[in-house]
Amino acid sequence: MSELMNVSSNPHIRSKSTTSNIMLLVVIALLPTAGFGIYNFGTDALLLILVTVASTVLTEFIYEKCMKMPVTIGDFSAVVTGLLLALNLPSTAPWWMAVLGGVFAILVVKMLFGGLGQNFMNPALGARCFLVISFPALMTNFQTDAYTGATPLALLKSGGSPVLLDMIIGRTGGTIGETSLLAIVLGACILILFGVIDLKVPGSYIVSFVIFLILFGGHGFDPAFISAHLAGGGLMLGAFFMATDYVTRPITPKGQIVYGIFLGIMTGIFRLFSSGAEGVSYAIILGNLLVPLIEKYTMPRAFGVPKPVKEKKSKEKEGEAKS
């Protein structure tokens, strides 16, 4: 045989999972939520979703062309960002705001930091917070033809009590994607079944948030109050689709639980004690900033490597110093 074979370092086989497969699964998991948003808020919502996705994908494409980089829109990560951002907009938002948000998410939060895998903050949430700060009135205008009342959380804050069934199905005011608990949980089940996410982050997030509510909510253990907080805002969408964003959550298993707990507490603080009704997006982007720190202190102990004895020694030294 004269022909030479391929050689490479081991292993010589690869699993079927690819980045674009994973991103595509996230897109599919978001479809029930998007679909319900469109059903609930009408063509306004559909147009906003299309405009946002188009702007994120185009921004990535144009940026990469200008910078003479390989074009990576085929990995669907820009689609996920666009979809998530759109689901975080009220259906009344003007189209130019969606475009601006999309450009900000991809250009400023993602590409300028090095593209996929390098951004330290969730692009969709970064853009949402940018829009909320820049255009507070437009971003909280939830008055549509269908719903004229306050969002469940705003109602809760002013002392009212939203109807639970409405929140589960999604017949309330809010951003396009946050209203229907049912659609979000359906999407989350898809992600969990296909192994894209696990319950470490969302589980610890939701549990710690509930504990925080019981302790500091002023209602004690009041199921109506707790369920309204869980189902009435962006918490579920945030916990299952944005806090679980691979790039901006810790990679260490222990760190993911610490991160979830941090998000739960921060969301609780923002919702209960701040002037606004919502706090999920701020909690998550704050959590994003803590990721390197959390990772540093939650590195798993390698197999068979004994616990470092340093701690004991330093404690002993402290003891000596005290005595």
Partner: protein, 438 residues
């Protein structure tokens, strides 16, 4: 008993059906035989023959070059044609003895042996040493050294590694099915060395017939137990199999003996048996020739030194154009660019694939998904270690236990971004281990 396992690991397509029902067939070499002087860990062997010498099957041709080393024996009769560097599976050129096969297979006469039961421990270890037995699972560590730990009384378990967790490999399975008594006898020889030890035959659950057969054969052996293990790669890695069988953990700075264990692979134990009971040196090994490019995947009993090219011909040649040929399994084997290399003591399979996954998948950016962390049996963070290696950040690499990596390949296998994580880590480990030696 509940099946034991470890944390992490992966489940690749196992491909064992291709060759698992094919009985072991003897292969007679046609061309020259090549014996690399370094087929084991430790000092290379020193040749004791010269060009032009006539040798017989089973004759010593190179003696051990030190304490951690192993002698090499001719596996055919013929004439020493040359002693020169030849390429081996890793791609390195290694000084080798080349023997022209005279096709007569005249064998030396082995001296009469006394029964094992009457032999002292030293005599047993000495026969393993002179027979040139090395760990045939892949590492090639001289077995006699392994059998002489500092504190023999502290050995509690002798684990026969029958996991065969590498996809496609069926050589150990065939051995267990066809010669279970050789394996059990070999384990008994090893148990004779360690008075307090219990023998464990650790088999993955995907070989239920082997488990059944071994259980039946060992039902009257109080010191031997068959332990089914969960089917998962790398169940057969030394540290993982010790943990699965005993719950004890060792790290890169420890030997299995530090956890009271001695682990040897199926073929090694059979070789120990042959060396001690019959005084036969290590001359054969079982090799699985398989893969979708091979016409008739088979298991062969091969004389060490036989050219790989002959094995492929023996298996009916190719039915598809092979894109990649691997010596060993797909997870830890070596890709070879040319089949003109000899079978060594540590060869276990020749895998010919018509499709090379690796060359078709371009690595992209890490998305921090954490699948490598979940898969790593050593509980490392491969994606970080790979980045440290890329940036040559020695400090961070060592601090995060990069040296604990066993190079099993799980991280590269699962990576959705198709990053060659194992390769990065492996290169850095090589550099760091080299520095340590100096």
């Amino acid at each position: 008993m509940a099946s034991s396992t470890f944390l992490g690991g992966v489940h690749p397509y196992d491909g064992k059906d291709l060759s698992k029902d094919k009985p072991i067939k003897d292969v007679l070499p046609k061309g020259d035989l090549v014996y690399p002087l370094s087929q084991h860990i430790g000092a290379p062997a020193k040749p004791v023959v010269q060009k032009g010498d006539h040798v017989l099957t089973g004759q010593l041709i190179a003696e051990a070059g030190g304490f951690v080393s192993a002698p090499i024996y001719a596996s055919v009769s013929g004439t020493v044609k040359a002693i020169e560097p030849r390429r081996i599976v890793t791609g390195d050129s290694v000084n080798s003895i080349i023997i022209e096969n005279d096709g007569l297979y005249e064998e030396v006469e082995y001296p009469q042996r006394k029964p094992v039961e009457e032999m002292t421990k030293e005599e047993i270890i000495e026969s393993v040493r002179t027979a040139g037995v090395v760990g045939m699972g892949g590492a090639g560590f001289p077995t006699a050294v392994k059998l002489s730990p500092k504190e023999p009384d502290k050995i509690d378990y002798i684990i026969a590694n029958c996991a065969e967790c590498e996809p496609y490999l069926t050589s150990d399975y065939r051995r267990m099915m066809e010669n279970p008594e050789l394996l059990i006898d070999g384990l008994k020889v090893m148990l004779q060395l360690f008075d307090h030890a219990q023998g464990i035959l650790a088999v993955e659950e995907n070989k239920p017939d082997a488990i059944k057969l071994l259980k039946e054969k060992t039902k009257d052996e109080p010191r031997i137990e068959v332990r089914p293990l969960k089917t998962k790669y790398p169940q057969g890695a030394e540290r993982m199999i010790i943990y699965a069988c005993t719950g004890r953990k060792i790290n890169s700075k420890m030997l299995p003996a530090d956890a009271g264990c001695i682990v040897d692979n199926v073929d090694t134990i059979v070789a120990i048996n042959d060396a001690v009971r019959n005084g036969r040196p290590l001359m054969y090994r079982i090799v699985t020739v398989t893969g979708d490019a091979i016409k008739d995947p088979r298991n062969f009993r091969v004389r060490i030194g036989t050219n790989y090219h002959e094995l492929i011909e023996e298996a009916g040649g190719f039915i598809k154009d092979p894109e990649k040929i691997i010596s060993g399994g797909p997870m830890m084997g070596f890709g070879i660019f040319d089949t003109n290399v000899p079978t060594t003591k540590t060869a276990s399979a020749l895998l010919c694939l018509s499709r090379d996954d690796v060359s078709r998948m371009a690595p992209s950016a890490c998305i921090n998904c954490g699948q490598c962390v979940e898969a790593c049996p050593e509980q490392l963070v491969p994606s970080h270690l790979a980045t440290y290696s890329e940036h040559y950040n020695e400090e961070a690499f060592l601090k995060n236990n990069g040296l604990e990596c066993v190079e099993c390949g799980c991280c590269s296998f699962v990576c959705p971004a198709k990053r060659p994580l194992t390769q990065y880590i492996k290169s850095m480990r090589k550099i760091q281990l080299g520095k340590k030696k100096k």
